[in-house]
Symmetry: C2
Subunit: 329 residues, 2 copies
DNA sequence: ATGAAAGCGCTAACAG
DNA sequence: CTGTTAGCGCTTTCAT
């Protein structure tokens, strides 16, 4: 790798001039040409590491997500990447695996790597974020809230739960169950509260095992659905509070030969790789990509020096209605 | 952020001694304690950027994949991450989007960021990789081949195609179509050749539109399947040469009410989020995660100084058979 | 407009 | 075993 000194020598100027050319600072047209020629010939490109050390900052932002294999988070990452890429920033994607220790580890890395900023879907409400913010590094929370007073972009999860349950009720289902995620995860809890609000409003009894807590993934949805089917009076419809559990639930239904709309299914989250006609099920689409682009723009604002009080942006989900139950039902 | 000088001052030693403590070089036990105490108090952690500039290398590796939203590549990324994480390395995930320009861009970044190495699923056979290898940075190709003499870990795609088509033939299907990806992508081409080999061996005529080229994604699979169904004599089975096109094909079938095993479906790749009973379809499981772990281990070997000639590791796919066609068929 | 020189934080000779 | 020092490649005063 050629250095700025070699370029300077070849161009017959000082290293400072080369630096100025590359940073768009005023330099005589004549010397600009000299420098350009020399650097092209040497295939020079500035050493980012040295720049970073000198500038105490880099054009890299970290994105910490809990599960890189969940399409929701990859779509979010995709949104972040689009915005950053356009702004000339690079993205470091870190998989925290729902593990607070890993989250802390990656936050430390963001710190010592002098990253320009961090977007994270937090798994823990610890104060490790403070280490970054104390140094003036902007942090934007996405999808999940932190206890801290920082920028955040989130989904109205309560409304999503209400929308899902209401869609099923309006379609005519009357025994609506809910497959919820782990209690600790706030997003799924809010969605569950939305479901509960709807079923209790209609006087439906939700205390007979219709609320199933499961892990947040496909197998969690499977076992929860199996438990629901084993009830004395199984539900005639089910809301799942995330995409993966929805996949598991639908898999089980398809295995026992009960297909929507024989049973009502509303999934909160998208099913980008569903292998059935998606018309039969109700989907409450979460704006994953939009979450990412919004968060990235907010972060870039902060990096650019925006100093206004912390903002929280709440995006809304959009519903695609499934079919109504068969008349026989 | 405390620096090594502040720690040294507080501990009453030289900066070099602090550096030695943090790098496990021989230092008297007494001073080690002093340094530890001082650095704890100051919450010191070494500045990675400075280390990188000094050492001309970092404990970061880049992973370049063409589509972060494809479960195959996220599983691969997950495998890479597991191995790197255990070895204390961090991963920078870059989405090349099947775009050679983006690939070049990220390779440049890997270079100027002094990354320890790169794992990439190449989209272009250009010589940009040379820039890294010339500087002694190891590069491992994964999933797809490069023209260069570097480490690679791949799948036996021809065999995967043969396996898929053979499974359908053995199940009794006789008009086996193939939904293939773009011609430029070598993996899908090899799989297509495998399919062709099987159908021609059995004397089946594959020249009546049974080979459909489509884009590599869900919508590609959809339009290809629609084209196949519109034929005068539609196929009674279909092989798709990747996971996403498989999803699209199955979606279309489910929409028109033809479900496997009424039609035979063999998908090369996994369907982690399939919302039907996966028993009905044949899946040729690609060892995505294993591909990642293997590549990461090879890269770490090279980073550690391993100097043997370039190796190519070929992993094999494993099949899960679907159901045979109904007797009526 | 341009050059000389200091310094970002760390590590590796080199002395001692 | 430990301290002093030079220097990784770049940017930025401070002079000129």
């Amino acid at each position: 790798m050629a250095t700025i000194y070699e370029v300077a020598a070849k161009a017959g100027v000082s290293p400072a001039t080369v630096s100025r050319v590359f940073n768009g600072l005023p330099v005589s047209a004549e010397k600009i040409d000299l420098v350009r020629a020399a650097s092209d010939e040497l295939r020079y490109s500035p050493n980012k590491t040295a720049q970073r050390l000198r500038n105490q900052s880099s054009e890299v932002v970290g994105l910490l997500i809990p599960d890189i294999e969940n399409p929701f988070f990859t779509a979010l990452a995709r949104g972040v990447e689009d915005v950053l890429q356009a702004a000339g920033y690079s993205l470091v994607l870190c998989n925290t695996d729902e593990d607070p220790d890993k989250e802390t580890h990656y936050l430390d890395i963001a710190n010592s790597e002098n990253m320009a900023g961090v977007i994270l879907a937090p798994v823990a409400e610890d104060g490790d974020i403070r280490r970054l913010t104390d140094r003036g590094r902007p942090v934007v929370a996405v999808d999940r809230d932190t206890g801290l007073n920082i920028d955040a972009v989130m989904v109205d999860n309560r409304a999503a739960g209400i929308t899902a349950a209401t869609a099923l009720w309006d379609a005519g289902y009357r025994r609506i169950a809910c497959i919820a995620g782990p209690l600790e995860i706030e997003t799924t809890e809010e969605r569950t509260l939305g479901w509960r609000q709807v079923v209790t409003k209609h006087g439906a009894d939700s205390s007979v095992g219709y609320l199933q807590h499961a892990n947040y993934r496909v197998d969690g949805g499977r076992s929860a659905m199996q438990a629901l089917l084993a009830l004395d009076e199984p539900p005639d419809a089910v809301v799942t509070t995330n995409n993966l559990m929805g996949v598991g639930a639908i898999q089980v239904l398809s295995e026992v030969g009960i297909v929507p709309p024989e049973i009502g299914v509303a999934v909160i989250g998208d099913l980008p790789f569903a292998t059935l006609s998606p018309r039969a099920i109700t989907q409450v689409h979460l704006p994953a990509r939009h979450l990412g682009t919004t968060a990235a723009k907010m972060l870039l604002d902060r990096i650019a020096g925006d100093n206004q009080p912390a903002r929280t942006v709440v995006l809304r989900a959009e519903v695609t209605l499934g079919l109504a139950p068969l008349a026989a039902s």
